[in-house]
């Protein structure tokens, strides 16, 4: 389990530097997002989810929602849910998912072309593997994924400075860590 790597120091350890990365992702509105370019200058709280997961992943999303609420939806903190199941999580699907959480500004759900998403996930060390797969009466295959359970925080220079277990970390911990740098 990944614990907050830095709780009370002013200069957090840089876990990954994504400043030079360049990925073209798509948000729930079908708008192109250049990552990290479009989020530069903001803190980014990023969690990894897929919409076929109705139990653990909503806990990850809910944690991000709570952080945004507690902070009072500040302009300088962007919230992002990245789908590691881009084949099924199209922008339309992500839009419905976002609606179920009643979210507004500064909260994006991102998907991408599968190849791009695989490269992006590699760069942030998010792993997935196909697990359970079942067939319904129509012979339609339903599969599920085992996946990293992660929320991470990027600073305005697109450097990953904090990482957490996504579903089980108390939002307050993440808020406290953010307060040490923001």
């Amino acid at each position: 389990m990944l614990l907050p790597l830095c709780i009370a120091c002013n200069q957090p350890k840089i876990i990954d530097d994504l400043n030079d990365a360049s990925f073209t992702l798509v948000n729930q509105e079908g708008e192109k997002i250049s990552f990290p370019e479009d989020y530069k200058g903001k803190y980014v709280v990023m969690g990894f989810i897929y919409t076929h997961c109705p139990d653990i992943c909503p806990l990850i999303t809910r944690n991000m929602v709570k952080i945004q609420e507690e902070l009072g939806s500040p302009e300088d903190v962007q919230f992002v849910g990245v789908s590691f199941d881009p084949g099924r999580d199209t922008p339309e699907v992500l839009k419905k998912y976002k609606n179920a959480f009643n979210l507004e500004e500064n909260f994006d759900f991102l998907t991408a072309d599968s190849t791009v998403m695989t490269a992006f996930l590699d760069s942030v060390r998010v792993r997935t593997q196909v697990s359970l797969s079942t067939e319904n009466e129509n012979g339609e295959k339903i599969y599920f994924l085992n996946h990293s359970d992660k929320i991470m925080v990027l600073d305005p220079k697109s450097r990953v400075i904090f990482e957490y277990g996504g579903s089980m970390t108390k939002p307050e911990y993440i808020i406290e860590d953010l307060a040490t740098v923001r």
């Binding site: 109705p54 139990d55 909503p58 929602v65 697990s131 339903i142 994924l145």
Partner: protein, 148 residues
């Protein structure tokens, strides 16, 4: 035998709803865990949570499940794989010992509602039918509540 299993948070709403069947031994447990299901879109997945108490003198087995809103319904458990990934697995033939509870809550056991046949939004309700080897058919109705 048909048991109607009524959950604590539902009692109030049932008072104003006379169409509900109330025969059989309504087993209401005092657990604080609320009964609810997640909002989700048609075709997507949802999960339902509640606590069931086996009030019989013998152990019971949950043989199958169905619901009025999903094409497939299973009992699932969220767990951590050996190499630290979050996963879900089906819990077939889950045993509930006599006078013990089957606790369904986020991050643990859940009724997995797969391929929803309609949108689930706040204010809707979901009826899950549990088929137990001993207790027979147990019907649980839970309200849809916001995901956060």
């Amino acid at each position: 035998m048909k048991n109607i299993f009524i959950l604590l948070p539902l009692i109030l709403s049932l008072l104003s709803c006379t169409s509900q069947k109330k025969e059989a031994s309504a087993s209401v447990n005092g657990s604080t865990s609320e009964a609810w299901a997640r909002p989700a879109a048609k075709g997507a997945m949802s999960a339902a949570y509640f606590t069931y108490t086996n009030t019989l003198d013998t152990a019971d087995t949950l043989s199958s499940l169905s619901s009025n809103v999903s094409m497939m319904t299973q009992l699932h458990e969220s767990y951590m794989t050996d190499d630290g990934l979050a996963g879900m697995r089906e819990m077939k033939n889950q045993v509930v010992e006599s006078n013990e509870q089957l606790v369904l809550e986020p991050g643990g056991l859940h009724v997995m509602l797969m391929r929803l046949t309609n949108d689930l939004a706040e204010g809707d309700s979901v009826t899950v039918t549990l088929n137990f080897a001993q207790a027979g058919e147990v019907v649980v109705t839970v309200p849809v509540k916001p995901a956060n």
